[in-house]
Symmetry: C2
Subunit: 330 residues, 2 copies
């Protein structure tokens, strides 16, 4: 199969760039030092490549992601790094080791009631989102143990620091966050101190495992944050209309692109706006014509991938493999 045989819009992953990103991260954070976050790519075939490189534990954001990873035989050690109030589907999995994040007595009760056996105490390290206050983490761990749960340690996501541009300033802010997490870890016990992401993997030396996911495919937002990975995923699109007044229209839009970080990028063009099935742009140093196939770079990889049923691994004009994006939904 050739690139020209694909229906557009289509998620396209360059094998060389993907492999380079995977290798670079595996060298920086070998084995279980990285717990790849599947939410960024939602594709078990891609997770399988990470597993083959030695990353045997994975991070998930939804029950569906945990189920799908277990069904794919990648259930060595799955962390659902999110609070869940109905844990029955997790407790029913008999082919995976499942650990779920808790940050309240209610979520501890839900884990126990659902048949989950292991939990991680989710600690708030500064991002206004989930997580128990650091000073209450030990108490929550005691409560979890009183319910018969194994407490494996702590997690805390320094998400508000991911896009700080200057490395030393980023390191300083991460250190502040991780001081809170290490204090909680001392109170909680357990082995795991889980944190981080693609934006902090290189400076977070305090956590003993990093939950990065975007690094394998990348997007323009993380590229601006100087993450040392290459843009492996683009969206193949077709120019369907051109106007003499100087604009072009490609056949992908809001239903093919996560838009929370703004417009996508097209090399040699200025993007004007996106509609449901259209991206309107003007030429900016490059020639375009109706019928041309172009590459569009999404600004945020995670919600973009969630809009597509499959992604294609390519090498030049050859489509090597087509992978189902099989971890979508809830």
């Amino acid at each position: 199969m050739k690139l020209s045989d694909l229906t557009t819009p289509a998620l396209v992953v360059e094998r060389d760039l993907l492999d380079a990103n995977l290798a670079k991260m595996a060298e920086a954070l070998p084995g279980t030092r990285l717990r790849p976050h599947v939410k960024a790519f939602k594709t078990t075939e891609l997770a399988r490549r990470m597993h083959a490189l030695g990353h045997t534990g994975f991070t998930c954001a939804t029950v569906r992601e945990v189920e799908g990873m277990a069904a794919a035989g990648l259930g060595d050690d799955l962390l659902l790094a999110n609070e869940v109030l109905d844990c029955r589907r997790l407790g029913a999995l008999d082919n995976a080791r499942v650990t779920v994040a808790v940050d309240s007595a209610i979520t501890v009760d839900a884990a126990a009631a659902g048949g989950v056996r292991e939990v991680l105490i989710d600690v708030n390290v500064g991002l206004p989102r989930c997580g128990v206050a650091p000073e209450k983490a030990g108490q929550l761990a005691d409560y979890a143990r009183s319910k018969g749960l194994e407490v494996r340690g702590v997690m805390g996501y320094e998400g508000h620091v991911m896009l700080v541009e200057e490395t030393e300033e980023k390191r300083r802010q991460v250190e502040e966050c991780m001081a809170l997490l290490l204090k909680a870890s001392a109170d909680v016990g357990g082995d795991l101190v889980s944190a981080g992401g693609t934006g902090t993997f290189h400076v977070n030396t305090w956590a003993n495992e990093i939950q990065a996911g975007s690094y394998c495919l990348m997007d323009t937002t993380y590229a601006h944050a100087h993450a040392p990975f290459q843009q492996a995923l683009t969206i193949l699109a077709t120019i369907i209309s051109a106007n003499e007044a100087g604009w072009f229209v490609a056949d992908l839009g809001l239903k093919a692109l996560g838009m929370d970080h703004g417009n996508p990028t097209i090399e040699g063009a200025s993007v004007w706006y996106c509609a449901d099935e259209h991206t309107v742009f003007s030429a900016d140093g490059k020639d375009f014509a109706v019928g041309d196939r172009i590459r569009v770079i999404p600004s945020h990889i995670d919600p973009t991938v969630a809009l597509h049923a499959e992604m294609h691994l390519v090498d030049g004009d050859d489509v090597l493999e087509t992978w189902p994006v099989d971890l979508r939904g809830w």
Copy 2:
């Protein structure tokens, strides 16, 4: 099945409000005066209700939508209101009447080569997107006829006028757009003058069919534009975390919500931001607690629906039907 049995996040449609919206539109634009746009809901079961009310022709934005409508037996008269460069899948449909928009010689050639028999000349009426210049529409129609295609008329989408707030000003601007379309219609010939949307259905008296879709489910953007329809679709979510500092976290985020029109709305709350699987908000006149199930109103219905595999028709606490969102993808 009860509402409490649903896994969250879940698309939930209130039957009474949906039926009222459908009835109101069917009264304003009966039969083929409305050509409902399926891109707004991507669900053939919902289209079937419109068909039963007399709207036998439909508008589609993708080849996949046309295929799905044909497969569902709703192929009386399907207009693909978008340019397509590979029309072979359209030409292969033998159980539907398919008309495709064209705005250039290349798209005419693609229609003819793909085995499509009928086209509509897409005319630019002011929105910077697809559409031939009005003064060139007749010439393009001649070219299409020279290729053996039946030209059914013209379409022109006044999308830039949809959100004008003041009715008389909106009417004035729509009239300007439609003057261009009627001029093109005179040159092109054919019966159809297709235009409009939920934001202009009540003032566009020049087109002889209106391509509205959002009216059935609605969103906060069109509500601000004073469309006389009610919010029939919400997303059922669960509060999974609460912080003493005053914020709450619900289990839906960027992968459950189209974000191009901004944050969603929660009654009695102020939404702070959305992350992949989280919406963070503070209480604003209402009490919330972990475990509560809440309704979240999306700001833009079309890309929101594209993120979900199914929608549930409900009446109070009863789930009446579960419909697959079966027109997703391309």
